[in-house]
């Protein structure tokens, strides 16, 4: 037979240590619950995915545009930047002759201006000059092409030096709206889930589950759905814009790929998505945890 004393005044700390819901167990229960309600969880996942993907398209577009505009307005390269190995020498060509030149960059005209010129007679150096000039021409062509495309899309006006492009107020508003819709949708879906599982929650409380266990279970479920949606959303949003930008501007996109910015934005996307799924689930989780077992059982036939 069990100990005689069946009720002990145990304080919160003792009970807190004795009553456990191991993380692995909470994880197990959450995953199984999600498997059963797969279709409804798809809606939640889809909502987050759309909102985060939308956010990522705006951010990624912004990142690419800034990178491309930066490239379009860049100073022409010189010396080693044009052809590896020439050191700080610069070359030009005219009437099938090659010259060693010195230049300076004139900010007013945005062009390289020659300051002196000397003809090259050495064959080897002529070969190098030929390659140099070709590379410089290629750069100029690429730049002009880029400027044309950018101005065609209204990103860069001809002859105007633009500062870094920001996110417009309309875009900000749209982002906030889509995130709010996603949060509300999550709360809705979670509330439905809680209502369906009244009896289950009440039973668990009868088995001795603390309020915190119940909260943990529902938060975990929401975080799972949120993470799945966020990952897909970030990747989707980024890929869409990446493909579109390459399609619009060509391989210069890859040359000027703003890696750090995009990674930062991606991180923001993850944080927001995660935060959203937690925020949306707080209300339903609290509602579930505060249920009295007797209310949960009262399913009148």
């Amino acid at each position: 037979m069990t100990e005689h004393r069946i009720v002990e005044r145990v304080d919160r700390r003792t009970v807190g240590k004795q009553m456990t819901l191991p993380f692995s167990k909470a994880l197990e229960i959450s995953i199984k619950s999600l498997q059963i309600r797969f279709r409804r969880s798809l809606i939640t996942v889809g909502l987050i995915m759309l909102a985060i993907a939308f956010l990522m398209t705006i951010l990624t577009t912004n990142a690419f545009q800034n990178a491309l505009v930066g490239r379009a307005q860049a100073e022409p390269p010189r010396g080693d930047q044009v052809l590896a190995g020439v050191g700080d020498k610069e070359y030009a060509a005219a009437d099938s002759k090659y010259y060693a030149v010195t230049t300076r960059f004139d900010p007013q005209s945005g062009k390289l201006v020659e300051t002196s010129r000397q003809e090259i007679t050495d064959k080897a150096e002529q070969e190098m000059a030929k390659k140099y000039v070709a590379a410089l021409d290629a750069w100029r062509t690429e730049t002009n092409d880029l400027r044309m495309r950018l101005s065609k899309r209204g990103v860069l006006a001809e002859g105007v030096e633009a500062a870094a492009i920001g996110i417009t107020p309309q875009q900000k508003w749209l982002i906030i709206l889509s995130l709010t819709v996603a949060a509300v949708g999550i709360t809705n879906a979670m509330l439905m889930s809680v209502a369906e599982r009244y009896r289950e929650i009440g039973t668990m409380k009868c088995l001795g589950a603390l309020d915190s266990f119940i909260i943990r279970l529902f938060l975990l479920e929401s975080v799972f759905q949120g993470s799945a949606g966020t990952v897909v959303g970030v990747v989707l949003g980024f890929l869409l814009i990446c493909v579109y930008t390459i399609f619009s501007y060509g391989m210069v996109t890859m040359e000027t790929f703003p890696l750090v910015t995009i990674l930062t934005y991606g991180l923001w996307g993850f944080v927001l998505g995660f935060g959203l799924s937690v925020l949306g689930a707080i209300l339903p989780a609290l509602r579930a945890a505060r249920m009295q077992p007797v209310d949960a059982m009262r399913v009148e036939e």
Binding site: M1, T2, H4, R5, I6, V7, R9, V10, R12, V15, G16, Q18, M19, T20, L21, P22, K25, I29, K32, S33, Q35, I36, R199, E200, G202, T203, M204, K205, C206, L207, G208, A209, L210, D211, F213, Q292, P293, V294, M297, V299
Partner: protein
């Protein structure tokens, strides 16, 4: 010499507010339940039987009056202590079985053990033992939808016994079961009572429960109508077309 009373209610009253009307569900119950007893609470629907049952089980608090479990006033307990009580000392069995559908039988039985901090291995071994004891040794990994009503209730009984409780509270355990299965469940409860000395308190309509009970309490209109010992009753069972119907011969009142 005082018999140890595992549950004691002192003038318990419960009032519900239904809009403007006050409903007196319990109008002063005084009950003493002995340790190791098999007690049945009987009464028609609306008599306050379920309300009293919830009181005894710590699921609800009386409006006035006191409920003592092992001489501790449970109205004094906070949420943590109540959770501890429900986990370790009281096992619940419900009319609708209330097995968690996403978990297998074994996982259902071991859930209270996990809450109580048992390791996965220990709880698994003990869970299998318990399931064998209730006759489900071969259905350990079945999910609830793969089990019949009677089998689900057996899982519920095994789960109630998970942490070796002192009291088992069974709310209409045979309500959703047919005659034979119901009898099996009652037999199982009686077996638990005999083997481990756990106090069993049931709230029920089922007259089959009468033979198994040590004492029976009748509730009517929120008050104790009658208390009788099981062996005092003259229970007459008639048959209709080969199936049993139960009836209670009136003891002296």
């Amino acid at each position: 010499m005082a018999v140890s009373y595992i549950v004691r209610t002192v003038d318990v009253k419960k009032v519900y507010q239904m809009g403007k009307v006050e409903v007196l569900a319990l109008r002063g119950i005084n009950l003493e339940i002995e340790e190791g007893e098999y007690l049945s609470i009987m009464g028609p629907s609306g008599s306050g039987k379920s309300t009293l049952f919830n009181m005894i089980g710590g699921l609800d608090k009386p409006s006035t009056g006191r409920v003592y479990i092992d001489e501790v006033d449970i109205a004094q307990l906070d949420a943590y202590e109540l959770a501890w009580l429900r986990c370790r000392k009281i096992g619940y069995i419900f009319q609708t079985f209330n097995i968690i559908p996403v978990m297998t039988a074994l996982e259902n039985v071991t859930l209270p053990m996990i809450f109580a901090g048992m390791t996965a291995d220990e709880s698994r071994d003990k869970g299998v033992e318990l399931l064998k004891k209730v006759g489900l040794g071969d259905r350990v990994t079945h999910k609830p939808f793969e089990l019949s009503g009677g089998q689900q209730q057996r899982v519920a009984i095994a789960r109630a016994m998970a942490n070796d409780p002192a009291i088992i509270l069974a709310d209409e355990p045979t309500g959703n079961l047919d005659l034979n299965t119901g009898q099996e469940i009652i037999g199982l409860l009686k077996q638990m009572n005999g083997e481990s000395g756990v106090t069993i308190i049931t709230a029920t309509h089922d007259t089959k429960m009468l033979k198994a009970s040590d004492r029976i309490v009748w509730i009517r209109d929120g008050m104790v109508d009658r208390i009788a010992r099981g062996d005092e009753l003259n229970i007459q069972v008639g048959t209709v077309d080969g199936s049993e119907t139960g009836g209670v011969g009136a003891g002296a009142h």
